[in-house]
């Protein structure tokens, strides 16, 4: 499981979406309902679900096979 930059960038991107730092520029859109929750909450939860999926995929597909000391 060597660090692969596309994966690292994807993680950074997903955490950047999950952390709601950018909603202040989007005005009232942040609290408009989406799937019954404020939009920023739904987006953050979906980003978290993507992080979980990416992590599980990474674990199942790229678990290291060689010893490393």
């Amino acid at each position: 499981m060597k660090p692969r930059w596309p994966i690292v960038v994807t993680y950074l991107l997903l955490f950047a979406i999950a952390i709601p730092w950018y909603w202040k520029w989007l005005g009232d859109a942040a609290t408009q309902p989406l799937l019954g929750l404020p939009r920023w909450v739904t987006v953050s939860i979906l980003a978290s679900a993507c992080i979980s999926l990416l992590t599980a995929w990474r674990i199942l597909k790229h678990w290291p096979k060689e010893d490393k000391e």
Binding site: F15, W21, K24, P38, S44, T55, K68
Partner: protein, 510 residues
């Protein structure tokens, strides 16, 4: 006291039966013991399989704090506490950086405690000793928090008055509350100690499996009945936008930095829990660990998210509560008073709360016992002790630690404050974070020297604990910067490590 109990004989019999089943598993664990060695007692011999590993990881990672603290925080902070889902997910992401290699090394070199890796990798007595002390202090801190939470849970479940939103202030109820707290601490601690001493890690993992199942069912039931009784999260959001809109607003810029800080603190600190590292060692194969971690990646969505939504729905009910952590008992009292089915579900939830508390506390107690016995006693006091002697000593250490911690928990009864669980939980993370270079960097950076890690850890601890203690002197660095003290400590730690290595490299070049 019985007159004050909100539960009937059937409910008490169910809870009693559940507690007895834990003792039975402890006895079965003893029967399954293959040899009188540290490896058998602390890692269940050749290790545990997929199902038990998933549930022991789950039950250990999600404690009573997830039920009381997280619902309470969601009640207080609203969706601002959504960060809890991200930091619990981050724990599994950070495992990717070291768990596969650590597991292989553990199997190859028969590691028992986390310090065994430090010793194997660095062969430095000061570094191993410092690592052990940091982990023992952090784990003891956590154990104390769990024992206090055990007593508080029993106290609140028995004497909380939903109409007052508090434990009534009259002398009789206060006496009953105190008695319930002490009884809770002592009874649950005794049961935990009994099954752990009987069966060691095997018993702890097996009971964790039962406790994990009950905890998972408890979370499902909790969200299900809360939605059924009090309305959906959507209804709660609509109501909160009228009565308390700040609970549904996204955090401001400083708040967003705090989210990042939480993700780093709990993500790295949680992955480096000594009891979690013990479970990495205990997986019977690399494949078992791989599949278990893949499942664990989804647990925050099934557990932390549920706790958050329960707290949010509770906030919309506008209960008048003395403490935010009373939101769960308030909801439970509301549900159990409504119907027989609601009453039965709450009884299962009570078992889930006990499961959450005991499954975390037993794991922490076992790893403290392992570290004191193997890393301190066997290394520094009696290096000739046999495996059987050390195993026997480990059981006595468990007893001594638990007596000390339970005594402390009971004596702290009158000094508890609103945020004691959260405050205690934070300090351990500030410390555990400083182990990151020694475990994570060291696995990938072959030339990383012991002195750099040791110096970095010392500086990191001084910065993190120094700044943290500033909170007591009205100097709250965390509040001023929005970043946890442990993250500043880790930054200083890394600067020292990298600075030391580059200076050494330059010196060698010349």
């Amino acid at each position: 006291m019985i007159a004050a109990l909100p539960f009937g004989p059937g409910a008490l019999a169910f809870i009693g039966l559940y507690l007895l089943s834990l003792l039975y598993l402890g006895w079965r664990g003893r029967k399954a013991q293959q040899e009188d060695t540290l490896k058998d007692f602390y890692l269940a011999g050749s290790g545990i399989g997929f199902t038990v590993l998933v549930f022991t990881l789950y039950a250990t990672q999600y404690s009573g704090n997830t039920l009381f603290g997280f619902t309470g925080n969601a009640h207080k902070l609203g969706f601002g506490w959504l960060v809890s889902i991200h930091f619990m997910t981050a724990i599994i992401v950070f495992y990717l950086l070291f768990a596969p290699w650590l597991h292989r090394l553990a199997k190859k070199h028969n590691f028992i405690t986390p310090t065994d890796f430090l010793t194997h990798r660095f062969n430095s007595t000061p570094l191993s000793a410092l690592g052990s002390v940091v982990m023992i202090v952090a784990a003891a801190n956590y154990l104390l928090a769990q024992l206090i939470a055990m007593g508080t849970a029993v106290e609140v479940l028995l004497v909380f008055d939903v109409t007052q939103g508090a434990i009534p202030n009259d002398a009789d109820t206060q006496r009953t509350a105190h008695m319930a707290f002490v009884t809770g601490v002592i009874l649950l601690t005794l049961i935990m100690l009994a099954y752990e001493t009987l069966g060691g890690f095997r018993a702890v993992a097996w009971t964790d499996a039962i406790q994990g199942v009950i905890l998972m069912i408890g979370f499902l039931i909790l969200l299900g009945i809360v939605v059924y009784k009090l309305g959906s999260p959507g209804d709660a959001v609509a109501k909160l936008s009228d009565i308390n809109a700040k609970l549904i607003q996204p955090p401001d810029a400083k708040g967003a930095w705090t989210w990042l800080s939480w993700i780093l603190v709990v993500g790295i600190g949680g992955a480096l829990y000594p009891q979690a590292i013990q479970r990495i060692y205990a997986a019977n194969s690399s494949n078992t660990l791989r599949k278990s971690l893949a499942v664990m990646a989804f647990m925050p969505l099934l557990t932390t998210l549920f706790a958050l939504l329960v707290g949010i729905i509770g906030a919309a009910q506008q209960y008048d509560l003395a403490k935010d952590t009373f939101i769960l008992p308030a909801i439970m009292r509301n549900i159990m008073a409504d119907s027989v089915a609601g009453y039965c579900l709450v009884v299962v939830l009570v078992a889930a709360i006990m499961a959450a508390l005991m499954s975390t506390a037993d794991s922490v107690l076992l790893i403290i016992s392992a570290m004191i016995t193997k890393d301190l006693y066997a290394r520094f006091i009696n290096s000739d002790a046999t495996e059987a002697q050390l195993t026997r000593l480990g059981k006595w250490v468990s007893l001594a630690v638990v007596v000390l911690m339970a005594g402390l928990a009971v004596s702290l009864y009158h000094f508890r404050d609103n945020n004691i669980l959260i405050t205690l939980m934070k300090l351990k993370f500030e410390m555990l974070l400083q182990l990151a270079p020694g475990f994570i960097l060291a696995l990938h950076w072959k030339k990383l020297p012991a002195r750099a890690v040791f110096a970095g850890m010392i500086i990191g601890l001084l910065v993190a604990i120094g700044l943290y203690l500033g909170r007591l002197a009205e100097f709250n660095f965390y509040k001023q910067t929005g970043i946890h003290e442990g993250v500043w400590g880790l930054l200083a730690n890394l600067i020292v490590v990298i600075g030391y290595c580059s200076l050494k490299h330059r010196h060698e070049k010349h």
